[in-house]
């Protein structure tokens, strides 16, 4: 595993001058993922419509220090499939000689929701590409609307915390498991707070022959309403509360990568975020309890899949 000292000497494939929000998780996430490539490797990046794409390719400027293609919102999986198919075909015919890696970035909107079909197709067909979902748990580009990745209870502009309905009513979709069920060679869940975990998984994904999928928690200070500098702290809380476990599924084998040492109640993740503020109003204790139960249930299911002893840490 490379050290930061070593990594800092490598090529920066995602450069400054982009117009993502100050403190946006995506800038960090993309740098980490692309940093898993060797300096001499060639890469084509595909990107779904969203904050990342809009803010990084404002004509005539691009922040991508490599080949890049954006097509539409829901078709990054298919677009990059075509790029990869072209690569295979041209390589086979001897029309090109260089090696390439392929990586797609989509937000939770472009991945969990509108782009799910295209992603599913690309994974099922076995294209040799890496798809990274930068999950910030809502449609941030259009102004913080709920997605199927939005956690239960969150206040978004289309699941507002109102007098009758206190935020989003449904638990989030388990996309990482859905991708694992595609029986592709590599699936992982990681978070921006754990850079070593990200680096290891991105490295593995790029080395994988065939499709690889990474679901990466990449917080949005605007949508989550936490103090911008605290991004690492907030993402760590997601991991520590077991709300966002770190795991991977390699050739069908589930493996838990990190087990929190002590019990951290979900409140610690929810409390610093404005989108959950209403949950802490008197009378809403039940909602937090429901969220905790959901987290516990999912955690037990994950432990079972990973062949770990079923346990809920003492409260």
């Amino acid at each position: 595993m490379a050290t930061l000292k070593e990594l800092s000497k490598t090529k920066e494939r995602f450069v400054g001058g982009h117009r993502l929000c100050a403190g946006c998780g995506h800038g960090i996430s993309v740098r980490m993922i692309l940093n898993a490539l060797g300096d001499d490797e060639n890469v084509v990046v595909g990107c779904a419509t969203g904050c990342l794409e809009v803010a990084t390719t404002i004509y005539p400027y691009t922040s991508w220090n490599c080949s890049f293609i954006h097509n539409a919102f829901e078709n990054t999986g298919a677009t990059l499939s075509g790029v990869e198919a072209a690569y295979k075909s041209l390589k086979k015919q001897g029309k090109i000689n260089d090696d390439f890696k392929f990586v797609a970035f989509g937000g939770d909107g472009g991945t969990y929701d509108i782009g799910l079909q295209s992603l599913s197709g690309a994974m099922e067909r076995g294209h040799n590409l890496v798809y990274v979902c930068l999950d910030n748990e809502a449609y941030m580009n259009t102004g913080i609307q709920r997605s199927s990745a939005t956690p239960m209870g969150a206040d978004t502009t289309t699941s507002p915390a109102g007098k009758v309905i206190p935020g989003k009513q449904q638990p989030r979709k388990d996309l990482t498991a859905i991708m694992a069920d595609h029986k592709i060679p590599y699936v992982a869940q990681t978070a921006v707070s754990n850079w070593q975990d990200v680096h290891k998984k991105a490295t593995k994904a790029f080395e994988t022959e065939g499709p690889a999928f990474i679901n990466m928690l990449s917080p949005c200070p605007r949508g989550w309403r936490y103090d911008t500098p605290n991004i690492v702290e907030i993402a760590k809380k997601a991991v520590e509360t077991r709300f966002w476990p770190l795991f991977e599924v390699e050739n069908g084998k589930w493996k838990l990568n990190y087990k929190p040492k002590r019990y951290v109640p979900i409140e610690e993740f929810l409390k610093p975020q404005g989108r959950f503020r209403h949950l802490f109003a008197p009378g809403n204790e039940d909602l937090i309890k429901r969220i905790q139960e959901e987290v516990d249930k999912e955690w037990l299911a994950l432990l079972e899949r990973c062949g770990e002893e079923p346990e809920l840490p003492p409260r």
Partner: protein
């Protein structure tokens, strides 16, 4: 162009409330029976990026929908935005209202400005002390009334109250804080 229409340009940063201020000012003035427009410039820039918002105010219906190019009044929400972009297109007798701890003379020097009238107010400090966090947009409306004498102060405050009550019915402390912020900015704004 005949200037029957008063035009205002707001300079702020994404997330600072320039758009909200422009819309709120428009709503407040609309209560006087005037015709108003309030609109932001929509760009790809994100939180923290310099952004613009605009107002038009007139006694007659406003039919134009082009961008504001030569504003009569410029309101700057963030002192770190002071640059030549602030004075772009502003006529000789333009009015500048700046949120800063600086004096109008210091701002004049910084902008290298010959004409115009400059007003300054520390809207950050005022909002922090009255509302509890740094949101300079409402106090700047108070500074605007003082600097322009656009409408009687009492009437303005009544109108703002009505607008705030629509938005924050359940949070009287927010209404009070904002009114206090406007009052203080009205009193504390410095001209040359």
């Amino acid at each position: 162009m005949s200037k029957k229409v008063l035009e205002i340009r707001w300079h702020g940063r994404g997330g600072q409330g320039a758009k909200t201020a422009a819309l709120m000012l428009a709503e407040t003035i609309a209560q006087m029976g005037k015709y108003v427009q309030g609109f932001p410039e929509y760009g790809p820039e994100r939180m923290g990026a310099p952004i613009l918002a605009f107002n038009r105010i007139s006694d007659e219906p406003i039919h134009i929908h082009s961008n504001v190019i030569n504003p009569d009044i410029v309101i700057v929400l963030d002192a770190t935005l002071l640059s030549e972009k602030i004075t772009e297109g502003v006529p000789e007798d333009g009015i500048y209202i700046v949120n800063t701890t600086k004096t109008p003379q210091e701002v004049r020097k910084k902008l290298n400005l010959k004409g115009g009238k400059i007003f300054t107010v520390d809207a950050n400090q005022i909002s922090l002390e009255t509302i509890g966090r740094v949101i300079p947009n409402t106090p700047l409306m108070g500074a605007f009334i003082k600097a322009t004498g656009f409408m009687p102060y009492e009437e303005f405050i009544e109108n703002v109250k009505r607008e705030l009550e629509k938005k924050f019915r359940t949070k009287p402390e927010v209404i009070d804080g904002n009114i206090k912020a406007i009052e203080r900015a009205y009193r504390e704004v410095k001209g040359e």
